[in-house]
């Protein structure tokens, strides 16, 4: 081995390594970047749904792709959609369309993560008049449209007719006021051996998805829409007192033990599906789970009861929807909206909402949709969405934090650790400075909140 050989090998080594690195970089870029095929513009669309809900959207995407040849939508199923969209926008490589949740809109719009759609809406003739008001409203933030609905949902009291009958109650006359609901609940309630609860009529903590919102059922507001948090408004305190009355009459620990035996929501051991709890606040989707896990269940749905002294609060319902947005930095916003507009058409929307067995957010609904819809109460849910007492999560960028505080307050009063007033005062004290802070920073940035 001569000295020269070694030196030559060494001098070759550096350029060789550089070439390898460059090749590796080039190749990985080739693998990652799918070349734009000639022909239609490819629109990437991230959506959270799987199973039959995913199939429903896939059918809509296929229908759109078949209908025209300028745009091709590529649907990708993504879990944790809101976080991944956030990261993709921050990284500058978002999808063209993302299927977020309704309550994300204010936060993402406030952060400029999603594009306003007003101009596109005008171009395609999409306007508020075509929608059930509350569903259009969810997509509007500070006067601009940031999202359009996919499937909406409203809630109603779901009741187990067999359990009502067994308690000597009329299954055709569900409770209409909170007082009646309480009386029904007491009649159905049963304890077994060793005093353990074996059957409940109603439990405010079940399923626990609207723990933040009971105050709204009693006519309370969570903020004034501008600068004031109103967590401890008298109506909200009253609602929490009502919730705590359940812990007091049945025992917080006993209720806890009873609840701890419930299985997952999406399982036959679900408290309502397994006839452990007779009456629950649930959404239009509940029918899907009933037919999947408890097809023999004799059930009904009716508007959730209102406080006896507040008939004006009848037909209260929680409304929410999944939405389509165009993230900031999307490569093909125009083509993306062409697809969104198709979803908003009566044809696209009914295909989707029928597939997911929900009602349509649109005012115009075909006879066929009503006639062939599998949920026997679908009209009730659609009607409830028109109610002036439709309740949507507040459009506050701080809402995720505010909601977590309210849920925590709910836990504390249900476990009798705090009085309703104390718990809600604490939320008020915590959230008001945060809102003040938010407004201060927004002004600093030049946004007008």
């Amino acid at each position: 081995m001569g000295h020269n050989h070694g030196a030559m090998a060494r001098s070759l080594l550096t350029p060789l390594a550089v070439v390898v690195l460059v090749l590796a970089a080039w190749y990985s870029e080739m693998v990652v970047r799918v070349p734009e095929p000639p022909g239609p513009v490819v629109v990437t669309y991230w959506e959270k749904w799987t199973s039959f809900e995913g199939d429903a959207m896939r059918a809509v995407v296929d229908a759109f792709n078949r209908k025209q040849n300028k745009v091709f939508v590529k649907l990708l199923t993504i879990s944790g959609i809101e976080n991944k969209t956030l990261m993709a926008v921050a990284g500058g490589n978002p999808p063209d369309v993302a299927g977020l949740y309704g309550p994300n809109v204010a936060q993402y719009a406030d952060d400029r993560a999603i594009l306003p759609l007003d101009d596109f809406c005008a171009e395609y003739g999409i306007s508020a008049a075509q929608y059930i008001p509350c569903y259009w409203d969810i997509g509007v933030y500070r006067g601009r449209v940031y999202s359009l609905p996919t499937t909406p949902a409203s809630t109603a009291l779901h009741y187990n007719r067999t359990m009502l009958r067994e308690a000597g109650l009329d299954p055709d006359r569900p409770p209409r006021t909170i007082d009646e609901l309480d009386a029904y609940a007491d009649k159905i309630f049963q304890r077994g051996d060793r005093g353990r609860i074996v059957r409940a009529g109603f439990m405010p903590a079940e399923p626990g998805w609207w723990n933040w919102g009971w105050g709204c059922i009693f006519g309370g507001k969570l903020w004034d829409g501008k600068t004031k948090i109103t967590a401890n408004a008298p109506e909200n305190v009253r609602a929490f007192e009502w919730i705590q009355s359940y812990s007091r009459k049945y025992g917080a620990t006993d209720l806890q033990t009873f609840r701890s035996g419930f299985g997952n929501f999406s399982s036959p051991q679900n408290a309502f599906l397994s006839s452990q709890v007779a009456m629950e606040l649930q959404g239009v989707w509940m029918h899907n789970f009933i037919s999947m896990y408890a097809p023999g269940l004799d059930w009904g749905a009716s508007p959730f009861p209102h406080p006896s002294d507040r008939p004006d609060l009848a037909n209260s319902t929680f409304v929410d929807e999944d939405v389509l947005v165009i993230p900031r930095g999307a490569r093909h916003p125009k083509e993306a909206f062409a697809f969104i507009a198709f979803v908003q058409s009566q044809e696209g929307m009914e295909l989707l909402c029928m597939g997911q067995r929900k009602h349509s957010p649109l005012v115009k609904v075909s006879d066929r949709f009503w006639k062939t819809h599998p949920n026997p109460y679908v009209r009730l849910f659609a009607d409830l969405a028109y109610s002036p007492n439709a309740i949507a999560p507040p459009k506050l960028p701080l809402w995720p934090e505010y909601g977590a505080e309210l849920n925590n307050a709910f836990d504390q009063i249900a476990l009798l650790k705090k009085s309703p007033k104390e718990a809600l005062d604490a939320v008020q004290e915590r959230m008001q400075p945060k809102l003040d802070d938010y407004i201060r920073v927004a002004r600093l940035r030049g946004d007008e909140p």
Binding site: A7, R10, S11, L13, T14, A17, N83, L86, M87, V89, A90, Q107, D111, R112, A113, T253, Q256, T257, F258, R259, S260, G261, R328, L398, P400, E401, A404, N407, N408, D411, Q412, L415, K417, R430, V441, L444, R445
Partner: protein
């Protein structure tokens, strides 16, 4: 520069590049962001120590820190004692020992999320196997998952499932104890306990210190199990740990600056605890040949 130096640097460059890009840069950037109002989506705005001052006044920050400290206070000694006890047992001369060692190590290979889901069933207040056993032997059967007093002990108990990792390290340490020491001790008439106390543990002390420090870091950063088992730190935030609040701030509330500040505070806490552990242990840790 000598050609050898250049070649060496070149071969080390993947590590240098990876380290600076994926570790050094994020660490420095997070220090900067901790002093900014930053949502990840919009340019950061410098706010100085505002985040740190707010954290000091943040009730939930203190709750999460307290929860984490209580959990670490339970899980760390319990985990170390269990791992040492298992290692001592598995270091005895019994037939088929390798099989026992494998069996006791196996649980720590179960991935976190399935583990959490599995333990949800074990801890189920009504139908859980744990309460079934407790009831059989006439002990009270608490609501592990929904009682604020029992949710943290439940997690500490569950953490024992992963004792196998530390156990293997202790076992390796035990193999290093010179047998002549035991022989000498035996000649002096030392019984099992005297031998364990005066021979085994001193020789094991560097390993105990190592596992202790790793345990401090691990228990203070507990995240995945409670995040899956107790959504939102339920019941009533009794399982709302430091990392969960950090995660929520970063990814749910989009307060990345605030979350970075929390990250740095946790770093300082762990740094101080590690230094304290090193200092306190100085007199008790015996290094062979040192």
């Amino acid at each position: 520069m000598k050609p050898q130096t250049r070649t060496a640097l070149l071969f080390a460059s993947p590590w240098f590049i990876g380290f600076s890009l994926f570790l050094a840069y994020p660490v420095v950037a997070s220090l900067y962001y901790s002093m900014c109002d930053y949502s990840v989506l919009r340019p950061p705005v410098w706010v100085g120590m505002h985040n740190f001052r707010n954290l000091m006044k943040d009730e939930v920050f203190w709750i999460s820190l307290k929860n984490t400290a209580i959990y670490a206070g339970m899980a760390l000694p319990l985990g170390m004692a269990t791992a040492i006890a298992l290692a001592l047992l598995l270091n005895t001369k019994v037939r088929g020992m390798t099989i026992y060692r494998t069996i006791f190590f196996l649980p720590s290979l179960v991935p976190t999320i399935p583990l959490a889901v599995l333990w949800l069933w074990v801890f189920n207040g009504e139908h859980g196997i744990l309460n079934e056993v407790l009831r059989r032997v006439g002990l009270p059967a608490p609501n592990w998952l929904s009682d604020t007093a029992w949710s943290k002990p439940a997690l500490a108990l569950m953490a024992l499932w992963g004792a196998g990792n530390a156990m293997v390290i202790y076992l390796a340490g035990l193999q290093d104890v010179p047998t002549e020491m035991y022989e000498a001790a035996e000649l002096d008439g030392a019984g099992w306990w005297a031998r364990t106390r005066n021979v085994t543990l001193p020789f094991l002390s560097p390993v105990i210190l190592f596992n202790g420090i790793m345990g401090i870091i691990g228990t203070l950063q507990v995240f995945a199990e409670p995040y899956v088992m107790f959504p939102g730190g339920s019941p009533a935030r009794s399982t709302y740990f430091y990392t969960m609040y950090l995660f929520d701030n970063a990814f749910i509330y989009h307060k990345m600056g605030y979350a970075c500040a929390m990250g740095w505070i946790m770093f300082l806490i762990i740094l101080v605890l590690t230094l304290v552990a090193l200092r306190v242990s100085e007199k008790h840790v015996h290094y062979q040949g040192g």
